[in-house]
Symmetry: C2
Subunit: 480 residues, 2 copies
């Protein structure tokens, strides 16, 4: 019995076999060199999808070969392959059946993980740089240069701390630009500030430090990151000079996350006194200040204030990344931790991922040592200063009486609107309806929204200068 | 008083100030545009190193400017900058002192993290592919192509599961080459198999599965990786067909790590029966088989046996990487986990690193869809088969009577030497003295070294064919 010109299923003749048979036909019609693979796939899929159920007897290889018009060897090989894999079972000379091993997959479910709103007419959410400033040409040139010169062994398993070339380049960069105590042995290359927090969380938990203070308002991510290491976060209030020292001392925490260069989101630059007080506190409790230098490179009114870590590297863990200067998608950052927790941090980095991709690291090292990274920082600085100015101008024009702050540095500012724009929930609803995405300061902390005024955290780095004025005008019109 | 032509320290005249003064001189002599930055660095370093101790009074800006022969504005700016950073303190019009804030760093300590022996004359350790086979030209070309076409938003924060383009490309690749049930929604891109194990460890611990069975002998890394997630590993013995089912059922574990395609390190390919029995076990305990497909792509005697995961994707978590096919330094792999733990895996991936670098992912996606990855696999397969043959030939020649096994697949084989070469410790010492790095099978498991025979795990993929014969001859000569 052959299938000559018909779709009728030969072989066992069962309904099950009939359904599978249709899947096998395209394989038989395929070019010779693909035929075997396609036949295997089709038969595998038939078992997996439940078209062929356990116990179904398959036609003999001779029979199926004739039916499909393919060589018998091809069918034998297919049966053998799928038997070895467990889809089929064969008795001693007595035929081939579908095995009991295969079980279908549960239908996939799409996870909703995309955080940014789409369809907004204007968008002033903080946290993203201008991705169009990424130096594509220079990066590709560096890639080619690096891959040409790289020794083979550099493609092997990396040092979990990072390749020496990058740690050396970063040590120079961070000492020069940020006043960090940064010898290469102190540096752990990591996947951005988020991973640095998780690494620190685990290292602290190992020392039974299970609570970490965080700035309030502050980055909403810290809670999740530390929780993943079993560490609880406690919000601690700010005053005009930075993290308030009274509540810090009263809190009994021994580690605290801070953003001294440009507090996120309030925009405060920590005062010199507060910097000193924070270190006094850390020494008195044998504790740790975690310095998140997320946008410390961008300062508009003066030279960037050096990192707190430079003052006491054994009581400050310093972390930063290229997420704001190059692109978050590179997932490249650094963590400089005090000696007493460094071994724990490196061990944890090792079990998390064995270390960052070595080619990416070599690329960034080349980019830094060639001077291209400094050029990029200057380019961003110019672009962001222009946008900041455009935003401040637009706010003055469209929201007369608004008070802006935190404008000396970073990629976002704070604006407190006059009372007539409140209450905040109403304002936010109007903004959303007009398609202008903004976030209120209250989103970042435990303080309740003010009944009267509206205070917004406006990110501007990713908005083209022309769109800034337009967006703020839209916002003002929406607010009525 | 000026320093004209002399090194005598002016200003306060104290010993402390004298020591610091020497550090400031090069700054004064520097080109104008670097002078300010260098002066700040030198003064910062003086404080940090303890040359200038807390309470030391600095010369007035007028005085220091004159002494150094620089503008007064430069000194004022330097003092202000370092005061803002906390290194210095200034009273109201009454001078500038070194502050109490700065504290020196503990001397760095070099961590010993390099695992590979250097200085060996010949090296047959398993685990590394031939890094010289990395397709540098094709990879650079893909980089250029990808970076030219990539939309800006692709440089932003990635989806923690991986970019859609790569998950789609991997789904096709894994279904086609390995018979994996691999829709893009099921895939989590990760930093190689090591991270996959850690991710799974955390996901299992969240379900109170705190013990995982591992093959004995097996990969020595698993213990460390699972321990980092708070999960204990229990060694389970093998028999000729794979993981022995009796001890598995008796162990009460509900999750087990396996290498069915080519057991590491014994080289056994799991039998069809054993594959089915493993799945039966997983279903009966509502458990999980973790399939580490670390070298499943390389099979020399027949088509690769399809992945176990294809038979029951809801009871098997499948993981693999490009570490053997491209380079471990890329840190790119994949994990396909059953629905019930996928959300936990993705959440953990997010807190570990927010996702793999997006550019690397786009590159691999391009590499796969363009067909370059298949070409690379074929190229490796040819090279490794040649080396395996060279190794088997050399062993037959220099160790007559040796029994090799596990040669059908992978990048290493097992060789059992005749009894006259034992005892093992003596043999290993002689090999080490001759500069031939080898590892015995006993290194990978709980079994005690046999008093009589010597059994070695020989990795050959990274050894040039010519060096294989030479190395084995050396080993034989050393053994006497």
């Amino acid at each position: 019995m052959t299938s000559s010109g018909t779709n009728a299923a030969p072989g066992g003749g069962s309904t099950a076999w009939h359904a599978a048979w249709e899947l096998l036909l395209p394989a038989a019609a395929a070019p010779a060199r693909q035929r075997g693979r396609m036949l295997q796939s089709a038969l595998r899929e038939s078992v997996r999808s439940g078209r062929l159920t356990a116990g179904t007897r398959l036609p003999s290889s001779r029979e199926l070969a004739a039916d499909l018009g393919v060589s018998r060897g091809l069918v034998t090989e297919t049966y053998e392959q799928l038997t070895a894999e467990g889809y089929l079972r064969s008795g001693r000379g007595s035929g081939t059946w579908v095995g009991e091993a295969a079980r279908a997959a549960t239908a996939p479910r799409v996870h909703d993980l995309a955080p940014r709103p789409s369809g907004a007419v204007a968008e002033f959410l903080p946290g993203t740089p201008d991705l169009s400033l990424f130096p594509r040409t220079a990066w590709t040139a560096a890639h080619k240069r690096v891959l040409t010169g790289l020794p083979h062994r550099a493609l092997g398993y990396p040092d979990p701390r990072g390749i020496p070339e990058l740690r050396t380049a970063l040590a120079g960069l961070l000492a020069r630009r940020r006043g960090v105590v940064a010898d290469p042995e102190r540096i752990v290359v990591c996947s951005g500030v988020a991973q640095a927090m998780t690494l620190l969380g685990f290292a602290l938990a190992e020392r039974d430090l299970n609570v970490v203070g965080v700035e309030d308002p502050g980055s909403p991510e810290h809670g999740t990151l530390f929780a993943s290491a079993g560490v609880r976060t406690v919000p601690l209030p700010l005053d005009a000079e930075g993290l308030a020292t009274g509540p810090l001392r009263a809190s009994a925490v021994r580690a605290v996350v801070t953003t001294p260069a440009h507090q996120f989101p309030s925009g405060i630059g920590y005062s010199a006194d507060r910097r000193a007080q924070l270190l006094d506190w850390a020494r008195s409790v044998d504790g740790l200040v975690i310095e998140d230098d997320y946008d410390g490179d961008f300062r508009y009114d003066r030279a960037p204030v050096g990192a707190l870590q430079g003052l006491d590297p054994e009581h400050v863990a310093y972390t930063g990344s290229v997420s704001k200067s190059l692109a978050p998608g590179l997932r490249l950052g650094w963590l400089l931790a005090p000696e007493r927790i460094r071994t724990a941090v490196v061990a944890r980095k090792r079990t998390m991922d064995l270390g960052n991709p070595s080619l990416d690291q070599a690329l960034l090292a080349d980019f830094i040592t060639s001077g291209a990274y400094d050029r990029q920082l200057r380019r961003c600085q110019r672009a962001y200063r222009e946008r900041r100015d455009a935003l401040v101008t637009a706010l003055a024009r469209h929201f007369p009486g608004a008070r802006v702050s935190g404008i000396a540095a970073g990629l976002h500012i704070i604006v407190r609107l006059p009372e007539r724009y409140g209450p905040e929930p109403v304002f936010l609803e109007r903004a959303a309806r007009a398609g202008v995405a903004v976030r209120p300061l209250t989103d970042y902390g435990t303080a309740a929204a003010s009944r009267a005024g509206v205070t917004l955290v406006l990110g501007y780095a990713h908005v083209a200068p022309g769109d800034i004025g337009r967006g703020i005008r839209l916002l003002a019109e929406a607010a009525g």
